[in-house]
Every structure is written in C-alpha cells, then in structure tokens.
C-alpha cells in the first residue's frame, strides 16, 4: 500500500493546480554517522524490493594527466575483492541473495547501485562495508580489468558518435580543467597506472566522510539506522581530499576540431558552450532553455531542422556538474546536407533565441515537461534514490528537490533570453565535426 500524501503542486499561470500523491520532503528521513557518512531513507513498500545508492564525491575532475580514467577504473576495482569477500565474491554473494548491482562514473561522482529483495538488506550492508573499509586490490584482477576497460572504451567509440565527438570536443573546450579528458581516460593511461595509484585513490576518496548513501524501498528507517551503525559506523573518517582548484580560463574565441571516420553516413556536428555549475542561479533557466531547443517534436531545433529535412536528429544536453561545464548541442545531417549547412542551421536557431527570446507559452510548455519528467523519475524506488542523491550532491541538499518546481516556475522568458545571450555566444563555443571526409578549402 502506498501512503497517500499531498505534495508538489505546480502553479502554472493558466493551469488549474491539482492535488497529487508523490514523494515529499517529509518522506525522506536522514541521519549522519560520527564518521561523516550521510544516509537518507525513503520507505516505499510498493514492491518487496529495496535499493542502496552510494554516491562518492570523486570523478574524472579529481584526476591529473597520467592517471586519467582512474576514477572509472577504480569503480571497476571496487567489485574485485576485499577482506571478507575476496575476488568475485561481492557479486556472487549479492546475486545468491537475489540482488544485482552496477555502478557508474561521471566527471563529478562515482555511484554504486545495489538492487535487492528487501530481505537481503543486511547482506548488502555487510558487502558494502567490507569493500569500503577493507578493499584488497588483487594484482591479477587489475590486469584483466585493464582489458575490460580498454574494451569498454573501444566499444563506445565503435558504436557511439556522441562519445567520439564529445571526447574530442572536451579536449579543445577545456585546456586547464580536468573536464578536458573523457571519463574513461586516455588509452595510454588505462594501461599505465599502478597498483599503488589505486591504493592511494581508495584511501583518499573512499572515506565515509566523502559519501552520501540513499536507501529506498521496502525497509524501515530504524532498521536501516541500526544496520548503518553496525556496519558503516566503525569505518574511520579520513582527511578531506584535495580540492579541485583549477578554474578554466575564459575562452576568447571559437575553437574547432574535425574527426574523420569512414563509416559515418552523414556528417555529425556537436557544439559546446561554457556554462556555470549546477549550483549557479542560472542553472534552471539553462535547463529550460535546453528543453525549448530540443525536447519534443514542437521544440525549436526539431521544427527548424528535422521538420525541414536538414537534420535527421538533434539533441541538447546540459549535464549536472560541480564545476562550470558545457552545454552541448548535437545534430546529425540529412543526406545531401553538408556539415557547414547543418552547423549554420543549429547556430542560427540558437541565435534566434538570443535575439528574439521565447514566448510565455513555450516556457509554460517546458515547465510542464519538467514536471512530467519529475513524476516519471519518482515512479520507481530506483528513480527516487537516484534523484534524491543527485540533488544532495549537486545542490547541496536533497531539500532542493522539493524547491525545484518553484525554482523552475520563477524563470521568465527574459531569463531564457538573457542566458542565451550570456552563454550561447560564438566566442564561448567549441565545434566538433565528425564525417567520412573533411570538407575541402575550395
């Protein structure tokens, strides 16, 4: 049975507000252990399952040349053996208890995800505590895992134009900040880091004071608290990791790069503009601007490029980010359209917003889309855990999740025009083109 609660009423100009049931702030209980580990709990008994998400404040932004990709490689090593549960036993024990797991690494975070029948909660605590407190990196496992990650890198480049473009584009958009390299790292670094690099990495970043844990599902808060005290509380805190202090110098003119790939059927163009971090006040306006440009078939880029047969696909992407990052726009040309024509079309549509702004109705539309996306994300215990943790990390507190509707609501058409003018400028732009042949100078 799901408890009925009131929450999240979004008042939009002409729309009648409705009363809905969805998670609200009071449904999330949290506590912090003496070692600094913050734990949040959402009770939800809709299915007999639960999950545990562990967010670690480490990603490729914490790397330096020579060990690029080590955050992600380390994520793999977290599954490869500790004191109580040796190589392979983390996965075998979890699966035998009905659980499954995964993990992902981004520029900013490394996130471990466990999905399990609620009955297995204690087993999961035991497994996680073992690898957090007593990881035992096996030299042989390091070598086979290098092959796995090399394959992950290769298969991404083989199958994803997005990944191919983004890797090159980050390299020219950032010349100082660690966002310059891809999360998977440089090929030569994957083969070069040492066991000692990995041991240091665990010691530095996998300290309880550098983590946020979210548990959602068919569990009871008191039970979670008792298990957290038993398994996680004894793990000692560590000194805070080195802060990332590098500030990317201001870009003062357009930068360009080209990638040749024979099998690409039509040119792909990716633009990237420098934008501030997620905690900056302009985040909500930029996020809505991204939707105006590309969300739904009535969006600006779809209407001007796909509908007019200039592109077969367009998308925008604004990652959540700790440091100032990039606003991406990507298009795939229709046959017969050159990279130059496609790029011109994309830029002209972006410039039109900077010049003329957006309508009230358009803004209202994307606010509705945001609300819908929010509901979708809160439909599963997974979505709840991931969303709550993400807000805690990028906005400084999960409470911000419940201010989000209001924060989006406050954004005006003038705000969208202002952020388009401020950030989506030529001098602030990097361009990458992926095509079978490079266009000639003639």
């Amino acid at each position: 049975m799901i408890r009925k609660i009131l929450g999240l009423v979004l008042m939009l100009g002409a729309l009648v507000s409705t009363t809905v049931q969805a998670t609200q702030a009071e449904d999330i209980k949290s506590f912090t252990l003496d070692n600094g580990m913050k734990i949040m709990v959402l009770e939800d008994s809709s299915i007999p399952n639960a999950n545990m998400y562990l967010f670690w404040k480490v990603g490729s932004r914490n790397e330096v040349p020579g060990i690029t990709g080590i955050s992600h490689f380390f994520e793999h090593m977290m599954f490869n053996g500790a004191k109580k549960y040796g190589p392979k036993m983390f996965d075998r024990t979890m699966e035998a208890a009905g659980g499954a797991n995964n993990a992902y690494t981004t520029e900013n975070l490394t996130v471990y995800t466990d999905w399990f029948p609620a009955n297995a909660l204690e087993t999961i605590f035991d497994l996680e505590a073992d690898r957090i407190g007593h990881l035992d990196i096996d030299a042989k496992m390091v070598e086979s895992e290098r092959g796995v990650v090399a394959s992950e890198r290769t298969t991404g480049l083989e199958n994803s134009n997005w990944r191919t473009l983004q890797e090159e584009l980050k390299g020219i958009a950032f010349r100082a900040h660690p966002y310059s390299w891809s999360v998977i790292g440089h090929e030569s670094d994957i083969t070069a880091w040492t066991l000692d690099d990995l041991v240091q990495y665990h010691k530095t970043y996998y300290a309880p004071n550098n983590a946020v844990v979210v548990i959602a599902g068919d569990v009871k808060f008191n039970e979670v608290k008792a298990l957290a005290n038993k398994y996680f509380a004894p793990i000692p805190a560590q000194a805070s990791p080195r802060e990332v202090k590098t500030v990317e110098p201001l870009q003062k003119g357009e930068r360009r790069t080209y990638i040749q790939k024979a099998s690409v059927s039509t040119p792909n163009v990716m633009l990237a503009y420098h934008v501030p971090s997620t905690s900056h006040e302009d985040y909500y306006a930029l996020d809505l601007l991204s939707s105006v440009l590309s969300e739904g078939n009535s969006s600006r880029l779809y209407q001007s490029l796909v509908e007019k047969q200039v592109a077969i696909e367009v998308e925008t992407y604004l990652p959540m980010t700790i440091d100032p990052n990039l606003f991406y726009v990507m298009g795939v040309a229709n046959p017969g359209i050159t990279a130059v024509e496609l790029e011109k079309g994309m830029i002209s549509e972006i410039n039109r917003i900077a010049r003329e702004g957006v309508t009230e109705k358009e803004l209202e539309k994307v606010k509705n889309i945001k609300l819908m996306n929010f509901y979708r994300s809160m439909e599963t215990i997974n979505g709840k855990a991931n969303t709550v943790g993400t807000y805690e990390l990028y906005f400084g507190s999960f409470d911000k999740l419940f201010n989000a509707p209001e924060a989006y609501n406050k954004v005006t058409p003038a705000d969208l025009q202002r952020v388009a003018q401020t950030y989506l400028r030529r001098a602030n732009r990097s361009v990458a083109v992926l095509a079978a042949t490079e266009e000639t100078d003639e």
Partner: protein, 481 residues
C-alpha cells in the same frame, strides 16, 4: 542522454525483445547437494480489470496511484510478419502520428508537448503499438487524441514522404553502430524467407517503394477492434475510465475478418553451420552473435529457461561474462538469451572484442557454452540463479509503462497473469534434473549460426573456421538497411 556520458560497470544490453536465461546439465555427483530456497518477498499482479466490448475490443484497466500519471497503450495484432512490402507495418504505425481527424502533425505535437505528455507509435514483429503518457488531469484531452490517431489517421502524403526520407537515412545511420543492427542480420540468417526473418524497419529499397495506399490498406486490414487491446494503467477511477473508453471506442467498426498467419509452418531447418560475415572496413572491434532457434513465448518451460540462461549468460557472474570478461579481460561484457515470439524464437550468445582477439573470444565463448553439456549445473549455482531471478523480477513491473507493456504482451502472446502470480513457485520448483532436460531440449548444440560484424580483411579467415561463410558489406541493402 546519461548513458552516453556515464560509464558503467556492466555492458549495455544488446537490444532484444525478451531475453531469458541459460542452463547447465547436472553431473550425477551433484545430486547429493541439498537445495535451499531464498525468500525474496511475495510479489503478485496488481489488481486489474479485463473487459471485452461488443465490437471485440479488449480493454485492461489497472489503477496505480503512486504518481498522478496515466499510461495508455494500444496494441494491434499485426507487425512485420504481415509485411507485404518490407517495412509497411512499421511505417503504418509511425504514420499514425502524422496527423489525424483533421489535426495536422504540428498541431498535435504542439498540444501534446504543451501538456508535458508524450506519444509514441511503432511496430515490432507481431504487434503494432501506439501509446501515450500524460498527467491524469489531461485524460479528457489525451484519450480522444489516441482514439483519433488509432482510428482515423490522415496519412498525409507530404508528411509521409518526409518521414520515409528520414527513416531511410536512419537505416544508414543505424549501421554506423554494429550493436544496433546485428539482431536484424541474425534473424534473417535463422529464419531466411520466413516472416520472422523480416526486418521490421524495412530496407532503403522497400521503403522507397511504399506508398500511402499501402499504408491505408494495412491499416484497414488489421486496425480493427477485435484485433486490438487497449491497456490503461495509472491514476484514474476504473468505473469512470470504463465509461469513457466504451463511449470513445464502442462505435469502432470491424472490417473484413483478419486471417491469422500460420507462423509455425515453414520455419527453415538449420542443417548446417552458417556464418554471415558483415564487413565494416573501419571497424576497430568485432561484434558477434552465435546461436540458433529458440522458443515461443507460450512455451511452458519459459520460466525454467530463464533460470538456466541466467547461469550461462543472464547476469554478471554468468559463465560467459565470468570467463570472457572477468577472467580473460577480452570484452566489456558477454551474455546470452532467448528472444521469444508467438510461434518461435531465437537463442543467441552475444559479445564483442577488439579485432586482434576475435578468434580467441569466439573460441572461448564456444568452449564456455559447451559446459552446459560437458559439466552441467551444480545445486549451489542453481539456487543462486533462482534467488537472483526471483529477486530481480518485481522491479520489471513497477511503472505504469512497464505494467501496460505486460498487459499488451498478455494479449499479444496469449499468456495470463499466472505468469506473474506463479512465477516464484515455478522458479522454486525447478530441480537439477529439470535443468538437464531443458539443456538437452532447447539449447542449440549442433549447426550453430554466426553473425560476425567487423573488419573482414582481418577476420575473414577466422570466420571460415566456424561454418559456411556468406560475406556482405554492412552498407549493402537488405538486412534492415
């Protein structure tokens, strides 16, 4: 988008319709092991109502109140198996969104986007789908819209030409990613000229031939109430919804009787090992599938096979992933699975590796697969797989979208809620002796079929070691392109 920027521990699934699990045979000495069952909590089908209107339209209603959303999904019993021209089912379905009942495509998109809602339409091998996802308060707008898209699409010629052109371009684009097209090649290799071999997407040549009158004819033949089910899941009052759907769809008329295809007949015998070598000359890795025929969706051993396949290639600690990824470091992921249709299916092992380790990886995949017959499954591994399959089952039916998909599948493939309600008992009841029977009955052992996509210049000689080779360029027309 996140998947493009987040790196994960596990490999992304090769896209499959339905994947099941893998097995081992039991060696005699293992029978002394005692079986233990893990309690993963009880899970049953959420309450729902099922009704059939006088015109034969099937309706499923399942209230779910967690968020104020509603999902509507209509499924028509027709897909690429019914294609006269390759791609007609998919293009008919997608053309439903090009305008209806006097409203243009642009007007509909404006209206839907403004509500934050979304609509989709597409066809698979045996079903054509149209659906929507919207806020509960917008039901009065969205339900009539779905009705007009489903019953009275405009089939606007100009919009169709544009869609077709984009789809043809999309076929070439898809081939830039071997992972996204390899299943089409495999189905063609296994089923040949049988309707299950039809690529749902059509080919660049077949799409170029299509015209509006073919779409209209397809729509008229199959889009009938007695050939359709509508599932509504989400935040609504069942009585009100029943009244509304009856009012909207009650007058929908049937046309000429739909003749069901006999898809059991004329499925080719796989009497030799065949290799389809697809050349992508700038490939930096080799992507391959190995397998053969599988099972139909209504097979009574469906659940047992899910457990057995879990052991072979259905989870992280499966034999295939353990050998090829964890022990050898040859790949980011290896898996296996059954893809089930109504009257047949395929079984495939799938993985990829850098070009230089192609042979080593194929050989290790085959050697690992052979363990099913050579070593068999032990009780501990079986118990673990059973716990895993049960424990991972409920999250597959958590959202309105997932539940609507389940109801659509029940209609299309003719199974009932026993699939959900008896699932745990079926899994618990699987014995070691049973797994042996499942292995010998269902897993293809002889005459394996291979699709290998990669740099042919470097791997052609290797490909020839596994069977009769047919070579083609990835850009060649056919096989869904």
């Amino acid at each position: 988008m996140n998947t493009l920027t987040h790196l994960t521990k596990r490999s992304n699934k090769l896209i499959t319709a339905i994947t099941l699990g893998s097995v081992l045979a039991l060696s005699a000495c293992a029978s002394t092991q005692t079986s233990t069952s893990v309690d993963t909590g009880s899970f049953s089908m959420p309450a729902y109502e099922y009704l059939v209107l006088d015109n034969g339209l099937t309706i499923y209603l399942m209230p779910q109140r967690e968020v104020p959303l509603v999902t509507v999904s209509a499924v028509v019993r027709a897909g690429s198996v019914n294609d006269t021209t390759s791609g007609v089912a998919a293009m008919t379905a997608q053309s439903l969104l090009l305008g209806a009942a006097g409203k243009s495509k642009a007007e509909i998109e404006q209206m839907v986007d403004f509500l934050g809602a979304s609509i989709y339409a597409d066809a698979g091998k045996e079903g054509s789908y149209i659906g929507a996802d919207f806020m509960a308060k917008d039901s009065d707008t969205m339900l009539p819209l779905i009705k007009s898209l489903l019953l009275s699409p405009n089939f606007d010629a100009n919009e169709f030409d544009k869609l077709r052109q984009r789809e043809i371009a999309g076929l070439s684009q898809a081939k830039e990613s071997p992972r996204s097209v390899i299943s089409r090649y495999f189905d063609k290799l296994v089923f040949g000229a049988h309707p299950y071999g039809n690529a749902t997407s059509g080919t660049s040549e077949s799409l170029a031939e299509l015209n509006i009158s073919q779409l209209r004819a397809f729509h008229k033949s199959y889009y009938q109430p007695r050939n359709t089910a509508i599932s509504v899941v989400g935040d609504f009052d069942a009585e009100q919804m029943k009244a509304e759907l009856s009012q909207l769809f009650g007058q929908w008329q049937n046309g000429e009787k739909v003749v069901a295809l006999n898809l059991k007949a004329h499925q080719p015998e796989l009497s030799s090992a065949n290799v389809l070598l697809v050349d992508k000359s700038d490939a930096i890795e080799t992507t391959f599938l190995i397998g053969g025929k599988g099972i139909s969706r209504d097979n009574p051993d469906y659940v047992g096979l899910k457990v057995v396949n879990t052991i072979l290639g259905g989870r992280f600690t499966s034999w295939l992933n353990d050998e090829l990824r964890v022990n050898a470091g040859l790949t980011y992921g290896a898996r296996s699975g059954f893809v089930a249709y109504s009257q047949g299916g395929v079984f495939r092992i799938s993985t990829f590796t850098k070009t230089s380790t192609t042979k080593e990886t194929i050989d290790l995949a085959l050697k690992t697969y052979a363990r099913l017959w050579e070593t068999g499954i032990d009780q501990l591994t079986l118990d673990s797989a059973k716990a895993y399959v049960k424990g991972q089952f409920p999250p597959k039916f958590e959202t309105s979208g997932q539940l609507a998909g389940l109801l659509s599948d029940m209609y299309l493939y003719g199974f009932d809620d026993g699939f959900i309600n008896d699932f745990q008992a079926k899994v618990d009841g699987l014995t070691l002796a049973e797994t042996q029977r499942l292995v010998s009955t269902y897993f293809p052992q002889q005459n394996l079929q291979f699709v290998i996509i990669g740099n042919a210049e470097k791997i052609a000689l290797i490909a020839a070691e596994y069977g009769e080779v047919t070579s083609l360029d990835i850009k060649a027309v056919g096989f869904g392109g």
